[in-house]
Amino acid sequence: MGAIIKVEGLGKKYRIRHAARGQARYKTFRELLSEIPAAVRRRFNTSACAPSEVEDFWALRDVSFEVQPGERVGIIGRNGAGKSTLLKLLSRITDPTEGRITLRGRLSSLLEVGTGFHPELTGRENIFLNGAILGMSRAEVKRKFDEIVDFAGIEKFLDTPVKRYSSGMYVRLAFAVAAHLEPEILVVDEVLAVGDAEFQKKCLGKMEEVGREGRTVLFVSHNISAVSQLCSRGLLIKNGTLNLDNDINEVMRAYTMGHPETSGWSVELSPNAARYSKMALLSCELSAGGADGEKRLNIIHPGDKVTIKAKFSCNATVEGVSIGCIFFSSLGVRVLDANLAMIERTMKICANSVLEVCWEFQQIMLSTGFYNIGISAGTQGETLCDYLEILQIQVAEAQNSPYPYAYPSPYRPNFTLKVRHCE
């Protein structure tokens, strides 16, 4: 048997209306009627070229891939890259504009936890309702009813309307129903963003189980560690096209590192690009020098001295400001936060001034891997500026190190080890 999912040249076009003509998203019938004369005029009078108020937007274009039965594929991409559009096309919620999808098996999609849950109905009733919506037969739900209730852990509240549930219970029940679907292809979007850590672990376990049973899983999540744990293969979607289709670890690396604006060790920014008005980062520069005097190399070693210099332009006078520098691992985990407030100091910034801040890490004790460096400033209640992923570094053990860094931990301790061979 060949591929269970085959996608060829898939594209989805949306038409976006520009606000210039004061068009809201919903058209009213009156507007439609009033457009008719204009449309007729346009048709007969091609010389008076009307400004194109409708623009075509390709949410997804020219995407082709195949998925074999039993594969677990992670779909990764920034917000708005087209991941959700791809899932919507696969799960037949909208029609493709071009290309084709061939599905050889029953597909169930879980694009949202608790789709179709009705707040007035009880837990018991909602299990049947949600099951039917997700494509289970009544008999199927009945057979798995106890298992579902058990998984969600809501026995006591089965006959309570779900509107009285805590949000945790609600999500648990919703996921429990979905987790007991038995399609050949399961498409899951961002459902692990909810629920507490323990439940997330349970969900991941359940999904791994689904994969082990030989079913095909397509999984989208921003929880990168979950994706890497669950999936063996990754698809990187970027601006509506398939950027990379490879082993999950390769794809993750490309995803976390591949921002063109943040390559290199120093970066200059236009103050206009700032998201917040009171402070803007002008430049950021990193230098590292190990004991052996290595400077400005692409790689730093654990224990190196690292200096980060940042220059801000300040547009307001604010007191009580603290500035922080944060290291994110390639899985998106904050592994290091060096904030001014930690050394019990805040400062005042003055309007129309330039501020230079310099962090010195005497010995950076990070484990091997890629790191994103972010810079932010703020007061207790207000964010003044926030730059995630402004620079990247790669930390590597010294070249002759025998350390096999297949499973690096985030922190690399500076330690000594005494070994004594006893009899």
Binding site: L89, I93, L103, L107, E112, L121, E125, A132
Partner: protein
């Protein structure tokens, strides 16, 4: 696990091809596969309707009863409109109100159904036509409750129903299909143009006065009868009075007009619904 493998075995590996403008072929097969969803959606709306109310299902009895009293007093007692033969005015009104309320409630819930289930439409796939169809189905339940109330009322008036009472079943079906046809058209228009949300209450309110609910069709002058019969509900309501009360002769003309209009509406409704269905998730 054996149960699971049995399940998948009965469903052969169907190959589904998704392409622009090519979902046509599997649509009706899917509709059959999702037949359970249709009943569950209808059940949900019934279950939800009377939750957290004190008198519960009694509302289904009270609503037509109160309307009947008002109509009987206003049209029968104050305006002194004639009844049909020796039928009590209250019975005549109630027999007409059954199909009318079924129709107007179905039309309303049908046209609101898609927008009301926007969350479902943008997150799960199923043949969308199940939603408006379930909207009609739900009102069938109220209809049945009202019908038993009618029988009770007839008992009170010691009125013996004629044998053709069995014909109410096809008549109800006709009213339901009329509502579905118009509802399909309205609900798909409502997705793109929310104006129809305001038009529907107007249709049902206006319709109540141009349909023979509070009065008998006999009071319409002869020369206007043909035009009057163009309202498809005239045939259904008169048919109902014929079937339940036997107070008027079989309304052959207006009923055949109703059926023609019903077929036309259904054809148009399904066509328009199917052609816009694929864009629902993008527009809603």
């Amino acid at each position: 696990m054996t149960g699971i493998s049995r399940d998948t075995d009965t469903q052969p590996h169907t190959e589904i091809i998704l392409e622009a403008g090519r979902t046509e072929r599997q649509y009706w097969r899917d509709l059959w596969r999702y037949r359970e969803l249709f009943f569950i959606l209808a059940w949900r709306d019934v279950a939800v309707r009377y939750k957290q109310t004190v008198v519960g299902v009694l509302w289904a009895v009270l609503r037509p009863l109160l309307t009947m009293i008002v109509f009987t007093v206003v049209f029968g007692k104050l305006a002194k409109l004639p009844s049909q033969g020796d039928t009590p005015y209250a019975l005549m009104v109630f027999a007409a109100m059954l199909p009318w309320q079924f129709f107007s409630a179905s039309l309303t819930s049908c046209s609101e159904s898609l927008v009301g289930n926007a969350g479902l439409i943008s997150k799960v796939y199923f043949p969308r036509i199940t939603i408006p169809a379930a909207g009609v189905m739900v009102n069938g339940v109220d209809m049945c409750i009202s019908f038993s109330l009618l029988l009770l009322l007839m008992l009170c008036y010691s009125f013996l129903p004629p044998p053709q009472i069995i014909c109410v079943i096809p008549l109800i079906l006709l009213a339901g299909l009329l509502a579905l046809g118009a509802g399909l058209l309205l609900c798909s228009l409502n997705v793109a143009y929310r104006d129809f949300r305001h038009i529907v209450p107007f249709i049902t309110q206006f319709g109540l006065y141009v349909s023979p609910v509070g009065f008998s069709s006999g009071i319409i002058p002869e020369k206007w009868q043909a035009l009057y019969a163009c309202n498809p509900m005239v045939g259904v309501i008169d048919g109902f009075r014929w079937a339940v009360l036997g107070s008027i002769p079989f309304p052959a003309f207006s009923l055949s007009v109703s059926m023609i209009i019903c077929a036309a509406l259904l054809w148009m409704g399904i066509r328009y619904f199917r052609s816009t269905e694929k864009t629902f998730a993008d527009v809603i």
